[in-house]
Symmetry: C2
């Protein structure tokens, strides 16, 4: 007999792209780690299980952040009037080099995880640094917190500052060591293959990582077509490849295993075709793309072509850990994209964006991001009583108000895979 | 002998556009309502005045919000997947009609002012509704709070729903009554002439308001060239005028007295020329312009042409009362505008934007928004100890971190015109 319990509240989630499901004063039955069902009235067979009544609160799926850099957390909000390549050299690389120091890593990573908990992110695809030990620590800390994550040791063996580079051999060996140790160690925290991006990886390294991905059957994350300067650099480095995506593809890093690529602001038609065919995920990071003058990704177009999309903070090129901020910004830039595209690429609605921030990105983790039967139960309980005080709102409007005007103070409880997660200990 | 006191802390402000002035562990001397001077060492003559030591905190000028709608506060975060004209009809006009009820007005307006206090806005240019009594109440509540504001009774006598319209005669009479009663009543809260926008005002009304502005020598606020749909409507209504701005101009509402126009997203060359000549302020409201799919205002170009610019939340088309949010968004859209303009309109730096959010908008109020000698002392004391914990940052970087990652929890004290402002009582 598995552990069952019921949560009561105003339930809102999305099954399909752009359509809210709501149950006012409804019940979610959780069995072990997963959703058993959502009901308007509690079925009699559940009369004797534990009932947690959240009164007038909202119950929504936990947020999925499909791309962010844990070691850049200390730089949050800094240097955001630079472009990508300049920003990497001035702010990011010097900061990442500090993670050879495990004490520094422990201090920042534990704070980072606590802040992630605060803002209601229950699943995340995380870049660490190239440092093996700090990466292992980050995996362990995530497991201790109860949050779910893919965590990648970053690989970079060329075109990187001498204080933040590794040899091809070390890069492969260290990655293999982490995969061997962690692939099956934890239920909710897993390693992921993480070439930084094409400019900082030799073709041999990319191919080696492609082989490891296949051997260990682990997913891949990287960056693709973020910024003009970056793309020009890739073209100069690899004139023999037809485009950026094909470099990953030729190394077995583009959809052979589940793959997520951050940004995709400037993907061309052939790259879109390839991503659609190989079901490569896009981690849409609008705050980052605006902050670093990268542009606006053609998200409506990518979705229409059948490419799976999730939302991402891309901390610290994105300045906020909060998915609320990303949801708002993603809506705003989709409006500007609509104008830019001559009113062709329709703006993204709140329901569409909420889907991307939960089930859209959640699909990278399996059955995650919805309250449909058999989905892992990740949830936030939202007390919006301080936000909606002047009139009676629908559940959809209350969610919209929370997204646009709420913050961590409104998040009362967090659940991951059926378990209530307490505030992680820090430092 | 006037009252003097000193504040000690890490002082940062802007004298000129784009250049921070900083004094680490410095002193600001306040005499009565104004700044006497900023010093690295306390001059001996001030040895005996009261000293308030804020330790390691930042001391910055208070924020100036150059355009927002108090009665739309209850709608904050709602309906933001609509365009302007549709949004007005569905959300805004029905909400504003409620302000015939003075009890409702008291409830929302007092909460609104408390929230404005929270986020560190010390001066604001505020639209009320067309209702005379609720507008008077808003002026009184602002005065009681200690915050400074221009508050305008909205005028609208045509093309408005029957539940939210007034006759030409009432509009003029009610406005005159408010001007007579309030023009000299309070030191820091003043009435302002507020035609809603061209579509909702007859030419007779605009001309009547122009005469009142001149007669009472009070400033003017309105909307200009926000959105394509709106501009097309104005063209259809007034084919005999060469453009939107000239309709205000021909009515004596465009720079005869100090004038601020919200948005100016789509101003043409002749309008820019006129604004520059008549020193008409722009209230740049990027959150609003993104939320309602209006576009990105050409702020770099307007500034280069010598037009005075401030920043604004435009609540509730803008979803946040916080000027932090506007500063971030204004930076982001300036980056996108740089790309859109073929890399001609340079992005706005943090120092430039901070100037706009303080001294830029402050100039509409007189000597406001800086710590230069004889400026009214409006200030925020920022405790950023929760934000900057991993390394030593410069004062500029600490300000940047507060703007991008801080919120009302970091604001420890607020001052307006030399006086510390306590949390306003609410409801």
């Amino acid at each position: 007999m598995q552990k069952q319990y019921a949560l009561k509240g105003n339930i809102i989630y999305t099954k399909s792209f752009g359509k809210f499901e709501t149950v006012k004063d409804g019940y979610i039955i959780v069995e072990d780690t997963r959703v058993k069902g959502v009901y308007q009235k509690l079925p009699e067979i559940f009369n004797n299980i534990q009932l947690i009544d959240h009164g007038n609160s909202l119950i929504i799926p936990g947020f999925v952040d499909l791309h962010l850099h844990a070691p850049q957390f200390a730089n949050l909000g800094l240097g955001l009037d630079k472009e990508l390549m300049q920003w990497l050299e001035t702010y990011t690389f010097p900061e990442e080099s500090k993670y050879s120091n495990i004490d520094y890593a422990r201090k920042v990573y534990s704070t980072f995880i606590r802040e992630l908990w605060k803002v209601g992110t229950t699943r995340a695809c995380v870049f660490a640094t190239l440092h093996k030990n700090a990466t292992k620590l980050l995996i362990d800390l995530f497991d201790q917190s109860g949050l779910s994550a893919y965590v990648g040791k970053v690989n970079m063996d060329v075109n990187s500052p001498e204080y933040l580079i590794e040899t091809l051999e070390d890069s492969i060996l260290d990655t293999r060591e982490i995969l061997e140790e962690y692939s099956s160690k934890y239920e909710l925290v897993k390693p992921i293959i993480t070439p930084r991006f094409v400019p900082s990886c030799s073709i041999d390294l990319l191919k080696g990582l492609g082989s490891l991905a296949k051997e260990f059957n682990v997913p891949v994350q990287s960056h693709l077509c973020e910024n003009y300067g970056e793309i020009n650099f890739v073209r100069k480095l690899h004139p023999d490849y037809k485009d950026y995506a094909s470099i990953y593809d030729n190394s077995g890093l583009f959809g052979e295993v589940p793959t997520v690529m951050a940004h995709c602001v400037l993907v061309d038609e052939e790259e879109i075709e390839l991503m659609a065919r190989k079901k490569v995920f896009v981690a849409h990071s609008p705050n980052s793309n605006c902050n670093l003058s990268s542009g606006i990704a053609p998200i409506r177009r990518l979705i229409t072509r059948g490419i799976p999309v999730g939302l991402a903070t891309d901390v610290s090129a994105g300045h906020s850990l909060s998915m609320n901020s990303v949801l708002v910004n993603a809506s705003q830039v989709s409006n500007i994209k609509w104008l830019e595209s001559g009113r062709v690429d329709k703006p993204l609605s709140t329901a569409e964006l909420f889907y991307l921030a939960t089930k859209g990105g959640g699909q990278f983790f399996g059955k995650v991001g919805s309250f449909e039967e058999n989905y892992e139960f990740d949830a936030l309980v939202i007390d919006d009583s301080s936000l909606s005080i002047f009139k009676t709102l629908t559940i959809e409007e209350r969610l919209q108000k929370f997204i646009y005007t709420g913050d961590d103070r409104n998040i009362k409880e967090r659940y991951v895979a059926g378990k209530k997660i307490e505030e992680p200990k820090c430092c």
